[in-house]
């Protein structure tokens, strides 16, 4: 391997880490919902893509500047998140984990089909900001749109952490995730906290969907399943319920994915990501930041 190959590989790893912010944000969403409700929302990544689509639709309707697209995506993500809570969780007994699992699968299929139905299945171009900016640093180049996605993702995560650790709502959310019964005794309305968690993760997810669209340059309903799988993998590698874990695992998976791609080609890339997950399951089932003893 000569120097040029090494530079190429490093370049693609760097791009991957920048793109990894979207995985990190999806991972945060899965982790938060699991932390609060001990339920999996399999429709989450599909909802994020759906929110990105909705933002395009609203943008076209309002004739607003493309810069607003991220804000619109986040807002529609929040609305869709609330709807998912209402449709898939509110009226199903919580003691039955299989029922909500299945209802979110139904929701995933429904969201995908709504997207296919409204766009006739044709991928749509997504506006990327700063795509004409290219920063050169020695032999490396940094794409402006990816940098923007990275910065935006970091800003979102900081905001989310501030919300969770500096506000009353965040305190309530963390209380519910630690001990629902005790939280209720302190006068916390579980249904309200659960619903708000879905709205908040929806906001994050909508932003992640928009960032994915901006980084890839287009949106397609085919994105939702791979993103679901990647988001879940990030959740597990980072450690269930751990937000810093999800962030680091997201960047890690993003970077390693591109490393595998440049070493072994695109068709084998995801195979190695899955194997990576199995390595974690065998040697560190709690994930990067989870406690080793706990195996929930």
């Amino acid at each position: 391997m000569d120097l040029l190959d090494i530079i190429d590989t490093l370049q693609s790893v760097a791009d991957g880490v920048l793109f990894g912010t979207t995985y990190a944000m999806l991972g945060i969403g899965f982790t938060l919902i699991f932390g609060v409700m001990h339920k999996i929302n399999l429709a989450y990544a599909a909802a994020s893509i759906g929110a990105a689509y909705a933002s395009l639709l609203i943008l076209a309707g309002l004739k607003a500047p493309p810069a607003l697209v991220f804000l619109l995506a986040a807002v529609s993500g929040g609305v869709i998140g609330g709807l998912i809570y209402l449709i898939c969780f509110r009226f199903i007994p919580l003691a039955n984990p299989l029922a909500t699992l299945m209802s979110t699968v139904g929701m995933l299929l429904l969201i995908d089909e709504i997207i296919v139905h409204t766009t006739a299945g044709v991928p749509l171009a997504y506006p990327a900001l700063f795509s004409d900016v290219i920063v050169r640093a020695g032999p490396f180049t940094l794409r402006g749109d990816l940098m923007f996605v990275f910065v935006l993702g970091c800003a979102c995560m900081v905001l989310l952490l501030a919300l969770l650790y500096r506000t009353k709502l965040g305190l309530a959310t963390r209380a519910v995730s630690q001990q629902p019964a005790a939280a209720r005794l302190c006068g916390i309305d579980l249904a309200r906290v659960n619903a708000l968690t879905f709205v908040i993760t929806g906001l994050v997810g909508g932003m992640a969907g928009a960032m994915t669209g901006a980084a890839i340059g287009m949106l397609s309903p085919l994105l939702s399943l791979p993103l679901t799988v990647k988001g879940l993998i990030v959740t597990v590698i980072g450690g269930l319920g751990s937000i810093p874990g999800a962030i680091i695992a997201g960047l890690l998976v993003g970077g390693l994915e591109n490393l595998f791609q440049s070493l072994r080609g695109v068709s084998e890339r995801d195979l190695y990501v899955m194997l990576l997950l199995f390595v974690f399951l065998v040697f560190r089932p709690g994930g990067l930041f989870g406690s080793v003893g706990e195996r929930s």
Binding site: L101, I111, L232, I233, L281
Partner: protein
């Protein structure tokens, strides 16, 4: 008529897929790896009949065995975790199998064409049934004979001590463990049985479709596999059959006249069904009610 025979084939094979997930779900584990075992069964059986020239029945047996051994091997690391972690682990395994077959290339020249699995293009020319001159009636009959056999075995297992042990682990692991049940052994056996059934289904699937490729065995198929028993209810094996008929017969084929709207309705109806009947279409209460209706006053003993 041929349409209904074709539908019967699909329903039969999907019932096997659903039963494989049913077996694992009884122990309270959600496995999305069934599509992976299904794929292994499909490729192994097809390679044995097409490339090695084996008869169908031994090929199916070896395919089921291969899937079962894989399930057993994969369940040891996977069952160290449960809940969401297991879902993710099994999704990853299923995807790894799919990607393996996406990159799997093993072709031999037969005359002037090359046959065998060919990477992303898949495995064409699985012409066992047409070459042997099986009629369109014989194929579904054969498939349903296998399905009936598996269902009878599962029904029997469900009512024997084995079924009680599986359900005990599913209801409460700690209680089962303190009653002296080795829960790891129970879960691994459930996964293995599930793998065998899925492999059998996969082998049949490969032979009636004549062309298999990796995209058929993705996450969607895996979610269908668990959707059948969850939607049908875990009280007995007929719930799974009912759900397969509901999904494949009614939602997929019956609503075809709706055109594009069918796909939209599909997800919505699953969500609705889970809201209305969270324990499945055929839950323990309706089973008891049905028994009473048909005058067999056995009460809640087996249900």
């Amino acid at each position: 008529m041929d349409f209904y025979l074709g539908l019967a084939q699909i329903i039969g094979v999907h019932t096997l897929l659903g039963l494989s997930a049913y077996c694992v779900l009884l122990t309270g584990q959600v496995s999305l790896a069934q599509a992976g075992f299904f794929a292994i069964g499909a490729y192994v059986a097809a390679m044995l009949t097409v490339l090695a020239g084996w008869p169908l029945v031994p090929a199916l047996a070896v395919a089921a065995l291969a899937a079962g051994v894989t399930a057993c091997a994969v369940s040891f690391p996977a069952l160290r975790v449960k809940g969401l972690m297991l879902v993710v682990a099994t999704v990853a395994f299923g995807e790894a199998v799919r990607l393996f077959f996406f990159n799997f290339d093993y072709q031999v020249a037969r005359g002037d064409i090359r046959i065998g699995p060919h990477g992303g293009e898949g495995f064409r020319q699985i012409r066992y049934f047409p070459e042997r001159g099986w009629s369109t009636l014989e194929v579904p009959l054969f498939i349903w004979a296998v399905v009936a056999l598996v269902m009878a075995a599962m029904w029997w297992m469900d009512r024997s001590r084995t079924g009680a042990v599986l359900r005990a682990v599913g209801e409460d692991e700690v209680a089962a463990q303190s009653a002296g049940i080795n829960i790891t052994a129970v879960k691994v056996s459930a996964m293995t049985i599930g793998g065998v059934i899925a492999g059998l289904g996969g082998g049949l699937f490969a032979h009636y479709t004549t062309h298999i490729e990796h995209v058929q065995f993705g996450v969607v198929l895996a979610t269908f596999a668990i959707a059948y028993p969850i939607l049908g209810g875990l009280s007995n094996v007929f719930g799974t059959l009912l759900a397969v008929v509901f999904i494949q017969g009614f939602l997929v084929e019956g609503l075809r006249f709706l055109g594009d709207w069918r796909n939209l309705l599909f997800g919505a109806l699953i969500v609705l069904a889970m809201n209305v009947r969270p324990n499945g279409l055929l839950d323990a209460r309706s089973t008891t009610a049905l028994r009473r209706l048909f005058g067999r006053q056995r009460g809640a003993s087996g249900a």
